[in-house]
Amino acid sequence: MNNTMIKQYIQQALFSIREHKLQSAITIVGTALSICLIMVLFLMQYLKVAPLSPENKRDRILIVSTVRIDEESESGSGSMTGPINHNLAKRYVSEMKTPEVVSIVSPYHATRYISNPISKKGVDLNTKQVDANFFRLIDYTFVNGTPFTQEQEDADAKVVLLSEKAAQSLFGSVDVVDQFIEIDFVPFRVTGVYKDVSALSSWAYADVLMPYVHQIDYTQLIAGYGVYTLLLAKSKADFPKIKEEFQERMAKAKADYPNTQITFANQPDPIEVSLERYSYTTDPDMMQIRLKQLLLVLILLLVPAINLSAISQSRLRNRLAEIGVRRAFGGRRVDIIVQFLIESLVLTLVGGVIGLGFSWLAIASWSDILLNADTEALRISLQVIFSTTVISIAFFFCLLMNLLSSGIPAWRAGKANIVNALNKQ
């Protein structure tokens, strides 16, 4: 097969589109609808899981999100369920050797009232408590100043970092290093200003970053706030080793506090597992989740494919005579099949491009509900959604869709009996 042939097929396809306007329109709309929904599903997962700036190391991060600690002491028994507490994280997890970095951060954003003590101007901003190691995990771009240091963190220094947006709204400028702000009426010194982060980077996103307050009480294991522990592996291959070391550390904690029970299932989790984790006793059934997603994509592909194959079938029936002539003059079956597949691919691709366009539009305009993030802070960068990965995935689904909807009719056309075809039967 050479280029002129392909060119000819495409020309024929375009002619066929003009000839059968309604059928073509149906094929295009059907394909566009299906590709749009598939791509929205893909983008929803992709934006949450893929390593994207400033969370460039997502694929190497393991997370401890939820645990249960049962403790029996002379003063009675107690239990704690939820994010791992700061005491346990700081004293046992942060000493782990296998990960490159261990970072302890507050699990949720907290909206707090932040004010400029001089101008008395105040706003509600999204704050997050992090440790100094956090900046080795997330690649913030600093416009001014630097992140706070380990020493400052250890000394419980009252320092903060502001996003550009926060600095602008409080001071009207980003040049605010060493200025003071008040958080819930307590003064803090600004040490740096970083570029705004999209809310899609759920770890990195915050208007104000402040150091974790150390509250170490060694008498009880259950002490301190709940935190998320992020472990950065040197490479993905280290994941099993890190899990093993984590279990050892938890066993050590249990040995130090004999009447204690720590339940954490198979944590730490890679990000895609962590997003599905709701329980500290059982791991999310990833197999089932993937199967469900696969089933959904299959329905989204098959439903229009069944439809469209009926339409391609009728289109081919109209052209039986043409097929008969070509076969009589020595055209091979495979040529006919390839010709029809390429012809219908033109239609599928037109639909695919429209579908992909609409999926971008949907993600951009309904991101708040589709991605559970507030739109204002979303700022999905065009680089991310116009990436070659996204486009190739869409192209792959178009090919699949084309094969599903036109494969059987094309194959049938290819094997049509010459005499019958010429007789239009």
């Binding site: 309604l22 059928q23 149906i26 709309v29 059907g30 609808l33 299906s34 929904l37 009232y113 819930d184 009426f185 307590v186 329905i299 989204l300 439903v303 229009p304 069944i306 439809n307 469209l308 009926a310 339409i311 079938q313 009728s314 509900i369 559970n372």
Partner: protein, 433 residues
């Protein structure tokens, strides 16, 4: 006419088998979604048992010790300072009622406290898990809880006010340990206590049931049976006399009067709120219950939206498919239809013949679809409503709704090509032939 349609269907049997399978598949998928939407709508439109329009929760904050305004002396009078704030809120002419409750009592909350309860008089009845809510009497006024004998919220509040600490109100859906619901109102005046395993002597204090409240749902889309709640009276005298700070466990909620304009709250937050400071307590914000409700409904709304998109996807595809297939068919059968018309068939008859073909196919496909639907229900793959997967009313309604939705698509999808077929001029079409 019937025999004609039968012939039509038979002649196109190859393409009709495809269409039949397609209709069957679409019918089952659409039904599944219809069922999900149906029970959620049912839940949404059933009475909630409370009313939060015009209600706001008051954000009370404690000054941190680092603050300049912090007063160490006032740290011992926190509870009384809270009461002062509540009294001041009650003075506002636009405010209808203000109530206090221990955390997790107010509607659309995200935490709750539960315990087992039993009735101790005559035959011992174990009532099972109850939500425990400790509230002030105005709680019934703010959230408009009604009595199960039709008492107004105000009557409930007055009765609650006059009863002694330790007496209780419950919701009217007491359930025996053998899971039969009994009428709680018959137990008014009898005593209850928290349950303990039989092996231990139950030393829990006794509580007299004073009146019953209409049982509420726990949220707008609550698919579970109604909530079982026992209401205790908040002991304000005890709180006033203790130095221990309980304010962080107490919610303050208020209701505005009916005719208050919506700008009032925004204006109030801006100008009046900063003035509400007593000791180390201050009001930081007023949050509308609509906001709490939306937060609680968010997950369901997202699911709801996904299912709606799924249903639209299916129906649009069905429409496109039928449009395509019948467009082609009417073109193929041009001469046949022309001949038909030449032999005296009216325009309407040509139209109806085509539509009837689709409707018959749909009806045929619906029969096996119902069987599949039924097995999906039997294997509990759908969502339970009021602890049941199957009720005949729900099943019949969802099947009928599905059939009607698909019928609409058939009428539009086939209607367009059929309308075109109607316009065929017999003379022209036959001449072409």
């Amino acid at each position: 006419m019937i025999s004609l349609i039968r012939k039509q269907i038979w002649n196109e049997r190859k393409s009709n088998v495809n269409l039949f399978i397609e209709l069957l598949l679409f019918s089952v998928l659409t039904w599944y979604i219809v069922d999900f939407i149906y029970i959620h709508m049912l839940a949404h439109f059933s009475p909630k048992g409370f009313d939060t329009t015009n209600c706001y929760t008051v954000g009370v904050d404690v000054l941190p010790e680092e603050s300049e305004d912090y007063s160490p002396d006032a740290s011992k009078t926190m509870n009384n300072d809270l009461f002062k704030i509540v009294d001041r809120l009650k003075q506002i002419p636009e405010v209808d009622a203000v109530c206090l409750s221990y955390r997790s009592a107010h509607p659309y909350g995200n935490s709750w406290r539960q315990d087992d309860f039993e009735c101790v008089t005559d035959t011992m009845i174990h009532c099972g898990k109850y939500d425990i809510q400790t509230v002030s009497s105005d709680f019934f006024n703010v959230f408009r809880y009604r009595g199960s004998n039709g008492e107004t919220p105000d009557m409930m509040a007055k009765q609650f006010e006059s009863m002694s600490i330790g007496d209780i109100f419950t919701t009217d859906n007491i359930r025996k340990s053998n899971h039969a619901d009994i009428s709680a109102t018959d137990y008014i005046g009898k005593t209850f206590r928290f349950w303990m395993p039989d092996s231990i002597e139950n030393t829990n204090p006794l509580h007299t049931l004073i009146n019953c409240v209409t049982a509420p749902k726990s949220g707008d889309f609550d698919l579970h049976p109604l909530r079982k709640i026992v209401f205790f009276k908040i002991d304000l005298t005890a709180l006033a006399s203790t130095e221990a700070d309980k304010t962080r466990y107490i919610d303050v909620d208020l209701r505005l009067k009916e005719n208050v304009s919506s700008d009032f709250i925004a204006q109030f937050i801006k100008t009046e709120l900063p003035k509400y400071k007593e000791g180390n307590l201050l009001i930081s914000n007023l949050t509308s219950f609509n906001q709490l409700r939306d937060q609680m409904n968010l997950a369901t709304m997202i699911k709801f939206r996904n299912y709606l998109i799924g249903m639209s996807f299916l129906l649009v595809n069905l429409f496109l498919g039928l449009l395509g297939i019948f467009w082609f068919r009417t073109r193929q059968r041009r001469s046949e239809i022309a001949l038909h018309k030449a032999l005296g068939a009216s325009k309407q008859k040509v139209f109806m013949n085509l539509i009837a073909e689709g409707v018959i196919l749909l009806t045929l496909a619906t029969i096996p679809a119902i069987i599949i639907d039924y097995f999906i229900v039997v294997y509990e793959l759908t969502t339970a409503y009021q602890e049941a997967y199957f009720t005949s009313f729900r099943f019949v309604s969802t099947v009928v709704i599905t059939y009607l939705l698909m019928l609409v698509m058939i009428v539009i999808g086939i209607g367009i090509p059929a309308w075109r077929a109607m316009q065929i001029e017999p003379a022209e079409a036959l001449h072409e032939e």
